[in-house]
């Protein structure tokens, strides 16, 4: 094996090894300042994901922005002059914040009102340019909003106790800064109102901010926890420095490489340090223990190290490879941050292995005699019978005698767990990444109790086929005819050339060019150009699907049906605008709250709507060519389950009530993207779990050169994972992102115990010639080593429990329990199984 050569070289050239590790670490440290945090769940989907592309196209087409929602809640009616004056002040301050798209801010003092004049005229004006001075005027304002379906229950709550301000941002990355600024403004307001800020962008951005804090706190804490634990084991600073160096170097090099390669630190990769630290230490603990056992005072440390390494190299290699495989299997998921997480931890484990087998022997061989003796004392102390030892012995007796009971209990628990797994509910919601008492969670709850909902999804409609093949042909033939008669039309030709497949030939652009042409061309072409214009215009008008009354009436029915469900608070669409303006153009009474009967009627109604302070509000709901329309659905919950329900309901409705013209119907909005990547995550995790299961199994068969031992090795972790996920199913904890990620990687980690157990048990069986004797011996030093390692890893993850962010707590809690449980299962289940299997063999003999 080449390792012996490498080891000999390392032992002879310690300074080369030291400086190599140092240089690598320093080079990686240099990369650290380039760290960029990324908390955008959108990045859970690759940049070319169809749903993501459509979402961003929709945002662009309809000028939709990421919005945070500021809400003010009063105990009584919020419509008092004082409250409204405070909200006017706040709204003005908000529109002045850099990064806020002031034109699109939705607040009482920014939007328009349409009313009837006593004289029968129609009046357009700001709804609340100035805060009203009197209670009467305040109440009148409340009544005015009730008449505006676009604002009612969106800007003002149905119970009249809450008012919201929707704050669109140029970049969602500004959410936290903007929210902090708004918080400082609301704190200055001396008014008896509760202010809350919510919305997915702020949840995501605030998460990023707290994640940064969390990384800075939890990673060092994990290091400290491991340090204390090692101190407890070895009581010698010089000794425990070695595994700490290995752990720190691994973390720094891996994070430095990740940052240096230009990857952003996402919620997943922020956990890399915490994952790597305990894993990196485990092999060192093995080496230190064995070394201390074999080293006798006066012996040559170098020679002892060589012996130890020869003995430990293969099992350590295999446990490292299996752990790495568990993480590398995450590369099979379609989710970029999860891939990066898997790839870098997998590599980190291999790096930790290399550092351990090269650096640690060198370090040990150069320890002073004094420190070496201390090591021995510490180990001797650890080998003494303590609570751990005696309980392990008891477990050993139990496991190898009560085999039937254990196996029946295991099968029962497994069956129960499998049932639990089938009960697992797949759900996630970025708001739930915060603890229940976090201000974001509180705001979310408070605002969604009052308003139609702060979670948005957008339903986008587009005509399936809007090509005009015959008209296109006719147009092109006529145009060629005019050209052959000497018509000069450079601009138009350039336009036609740009429309390669001539699918969307008839556009406003074409009409403008034709209009230009009627002025620039020779007057002799006037008549023919007018005809050409007419042809283009007719086709263009036919494409204006969303001014067609039958289409709008269908949309109105759809909105009504959605509004009548109990899972969508409210819908906002083109229909609401058309009906409101139409009503005010006519009598102002409810009977005129309808769609005009002709497309021209709709177009003229919309022309009026655009004669307001905010003409561009129209373009959130219909594209400028009137070929696409957007329906904004407000939901009171951001649960993926909830969104899925809405999406399915709408699909069923449209299947049963098809639109008058065949439509392409698609979804966008943050809440929708969340369910898209959740689906990808669940399926991806399943395939990565399956594949890492198969690969690890194959590695086991190779390692033990036995099919039977391969299966035995897989049993404890199969049992553990099923049990943990069964528990999740029974308890009703949602299967969310952190839970999903755990499955594949615990497989790689918990197999270690089985490897060590089976390897040692087989060796001992060979030595003693009896499985029973071997198993009794197993519950001395070997089982203590396994338990110690389980404790190191489990304790290493516990600082995550202190995190203010729920996903970290989940990961910490489950990893720690999986480690503890799988060690226990290994120690109990494997002896029983081995006894049962060999018992048959003895009888046969």
């Amino acid at each position: 094996m080449n390792y012996t050569k490498i080891l000999n070289f390392a032992l002879n050239q310690p300074k080369v090894i030291y400086s190599f590790v140092l240089l690598l670490t320093l080079a990686s440290l240099v990369m650290m300042p380039n760290l960029t945090i990324d908390t955008d769940p959108e990045n859970m989907l690759s940049s070319d994901n169809a749903a993501r592309l459509f979402h961003n196209q929709t945002k662009q087409d309809f000028n939709m922005h990421d919005m945070i929602v500021v809400g003010a809640i009063s105990k009584k009616s919020i419509f008092t002059p004082d409250n409204l004056a405070a909200l006017k002040t706040l709204s003005d301050q908000i529109t002045n914040i850099d990064g806020v798209i002031s034109k699109d801010v939705l607040s009482l003092s920014e939007v328009d009102n349409i009313t009837q004049e006593v004289s029968g005229g129609i009046r357009f004006e700001y709804l609340m340019k100035q805060a009203p001075q009197t209670q009467a005027a305040s109440s009148a304002l409340q009544l005015a909003i009730k008449r505006l379906p676009m604002l009612d229950n969106t800007l003002v709550s149905g119970d009249g106790k809450a008012i919201a301000i929707y704050v669109p941002l140029t970049k969602k990355e500004l959410s936290y800064t903007v929210a902090e600024l708004i918080r400082s403004y609301t704190n200055e307001l001396t008014i008896d109102l509760d202010f809350h800020i919510t919305g997915l962008p702020i949840a995501e951005d605030q998460f990023g901010y707290e994640m940064f804090v969390q990384m800075g706190v939890a990673a060092p804490l994990a290091g400290l926890a491991i340090f204390i634990l090692l101190w407890y084991f070895f009581r010698n600073f010089a000794l425990i420095l070695a595994p700490m160096i290995v752990a720190m170097a691994t973390v720094i090099i891996i994070m430095g490489t990740l940052i240096g390669m230009g990857f952003t630190v996402h919620i997943m990769s922020s956990m890399i340090a915490i994952f790597l630290m305990p894993i990196a230490v485990v092999d060192s603990v093995h080496i230190l223990s064995e070394f201390a056992e074999k080293y006798k005072p006066g012996a040559n440390a170098k020679e002892v190290v060589k012996k130890v390494m020869k003995h430990l190299y293969t099992p350590m290699l295999f446990t490292s490879i299996t752990s790495a495989v568990g993480f590398y299997s995450l590369l099979l998921t379609p989710i970029p941050p999860v891939k990066i997480f898997g790839a870098f931890i997998g590599s980190g484990i291999l790096l930790a292995f290399i550092l351990t087998v090269v650096f640690l022997p060198v370090y040990l061989s150069r320890l002073s005699d004094k420190n070496l003796n201390k090591l021995q004392l510490a180990i001797a102390r650890m080998e003494q019978k303590g609570r751990l030892s005696s309980s392990l012995e008891k477990i050993g007796v139990f496991a190898s005698t009560k085999t039937k009971f254990i196996l029946i209990a295991a099968i029962a628990i497994f069956a129960l767990s499998a049932l639990g797994v089938s009960k697992i509910v797949i759900n996630d919601n970025p708001i739930n990444w915060f603890k229940a008492d976090h201000e974001i969670r509180v705001a979310d709850k408070a605002l969604n109790a009052h308003f139609a909902g702060t979670y948005d999804i957008w339903l986008v409609f587009k005509e399936t086929d809007n090509s005009h093949i015959s008209a296109t042909k006719e147009f092109l033939i006529n145009f060629q005819g005019l050209k052959s008669k000497g018509l000069e039309a450079k601009a138009l030709e350039t336009y036609l050339a740009s429309k390669e497949n001539q699918e969307q030939l008839f556009s406003q652009e074409l009409l403008i060019l034709l209009d230009d042409l009627t002025f620039s061309a020779d007057p002799s072409f006037e008549q023919e150009l007018a005809e050409l214009y007419k042809l283009a215009e007719t086709s263009h008008n036919q494409n204006k699907l969303f001014i067609q009354p039958d289409m709008l009436n269908w949309l109105a029915q759809l909105q009504l049906a959605i509004n009548n469900t109990d899972f969508v608070g409210k819908t906002n669409g083109l229909v609401d605008i058309v009906k409101t303006v139409n009503r005010e153009l006519h009598s102002g009474e409810a009977k005129d709250f309808s769609i005009p009967t002709s497309p021209e009627g709709v177009a003229q109604t919309l022309l009026q709507y655009q004669s307001s302070h905010r003409p561009d509000d129209l373009w959130h709901f219909v594209s400028k060519d009137y070929q696409q329309s957007l329906l904004w659905l407000q939901m009171t919950s951001g649960d993926n389950q909830h969104t899925t329900k809405v999406v399915n309901w709408v699909k069923n409705y449209i299947d049963e009530h098809p639109a008058p013209v065949a439509l392409d119907i698609d979804w966008a909005g943050k809440s929708y993207l969340n369910i898209v990547w959740q689906d990808a995550m669940v399926n991806g995790m399943l395939s990565s779990l399956m594949s890492s299961f198969v690969i690890v199994f194959l590695i086991m068969v190779v390692l033990f050169r036995s099919f039977k031992y391969g299966i035995l090795a897989m049993l404890p972790l199969t049992f553990t994972i099923t049990m943990i996920y069964g528990l999740i199913g029974w308890v009703g904890k949602a299967y969310d992102m952190p839970i999903a990620v755990l499955s594949a990687l615990t497989l790689g980690l918990s197999i270690d115990f089985a490897i060590h157990f089976l390897q040692r048990a087989r060796e001992l069986e060979k030595e003693t010639g009896s499985l029973k004797t071997a198993l009794t011996a197993m519950f001395q030093e070997p089982s203590r080593a396994i338990s110690r390692n389980a404790i190191v890893i489990a304790v290493g993850f516990t600082p995550l429990l202190l995190s203010p962010l729920v996903p970290y707590i989940t990961v910490g809690f489950f990893l720690a329990s999986i480690m503890a449980l799988s060690a226990l299962v290994t120690l109990v289940l494997l002896p029983s199984l081995m006894m049962t299997l060999s018992g048959e063999k003895l009888e046969a003999n």
């Binding site: 002031s102 004289s119 029968g120 129609i122 700001y126 100035q130 204006k544 003229q604 022309l607 302070h613």
Partner: protein, 262 residues
């Protein structure tokens, strides 16, 4: 030719020193500018085309014909706006009686709804049919609403700072007008917010002398916050046509005066 002579003589009479020296009285400059921009001739007709371009380059077109008649220079005016394109708003008409000393009277006719409606607005800074031009940009902002300061007069331009007397009726804090010293046409007007950031700008891209009046033929208003804009082009500009007073009546809403719209 008579009108040309008239126009020139008015200008010469009003400012005998026009070509000799620059003016220093800011209100005099504003008055001349208002006159040049909105009161050319006794009446006038023009075809207009607006192209509204959003920040992504999507275009919309509006075409209309404007008829105007002045009751007195710098005084009240009658105005009719007949929409022809897009064809689904063809026949839509606005009628305005601009009043210097009180709120304008405005009417609207929507042919598809067969509806004549009187419009009143809280302010004049609402969009003109979805364009970046405001109603006030089309009809003219009343000089009485602002306080003016002459900042400079060089490079052939008077640069004037205007601060609205009532800030609650406008969406800006102040504006800067750059007025041509010879024609008194404002060539560029920039609007600023309270942080003194330029948010909106009107630019004149082309002028022509028609019937002796320097006339804006092509202008543009840009929303500087998102780079969207509207271009307005004029064609077939004519002055002093002798349009009868009775044309500017409710009857013309439902029955457009065809002879003046050709």
């Amino acid at each position: 030719m008579k009108n040309l002579f008239w126009g020139l003589s008015i200008l010469l009479l009003a400012s005998p020193s026009l070509f000799a020296e620059t003016l220093t009285d800011v209100n005099q400059i504003i008055q001349k500018s208002n006159l040049a921009s909105y009161y050319a001739g006794d009446d006038g007709r023009t075809q207009a085309r607006m192209i509204i371009v959003d920040s992504q380059g999507n275009k919309q077109m509006r075409q209309f014909t404007i008829l105007r008649k002045d009751k007195a220079d710098l005084g009240d005016q009658e105005m009719l706006v007949f929409f022809s394109r897009p064809s689904d708003v063809n026949g839509t008409v606005f009628r305005v009686t601009k009043k210097v000393n009180s709120d304008d009277d405005r009417w609207l006719y929507l042919p598809a709804l067969d509806l004549v409606k009187r419009i009143s607005a809280g302010d004049k800074r609402t969009s003109f049919v979805g364009a970046h031009f405001f109603y006030e940009d089309v009809s003219g902002r009343n000089p009485a609403e602002d306080n003016f300061t002459l900042i400079s007069s060089d490079n052939g331009l008077y640069t004037i700072k205007a601060i609205p007397k009532d800030l609650t009726t406008v969406e800006f804090s102040w504006y800067k007008a750059e007025i041509d010293t010879k024609t008194f046409i404002p060539m560029k007007v920039t609007y600023f917010n309270e942080k003194d950031e330029a948010i909106r700008q009107m630019q004149v891209l082309d002028t022509q002398v028609i019937d002796g009046y320097t006339t804006v033929m092509h202008s543009k208003i840009i929303d500087l916050t998102n780079d969207s804009f509207t271009e307005m082009q004029f064609r077939g500009v004519q002055y002093n046509l002798g349009i009868e007073d009775n044309i500017f009546s409710e009857r013309s809403l439902r029955t457009p005066p065809k002879q003046w719209l050709r």
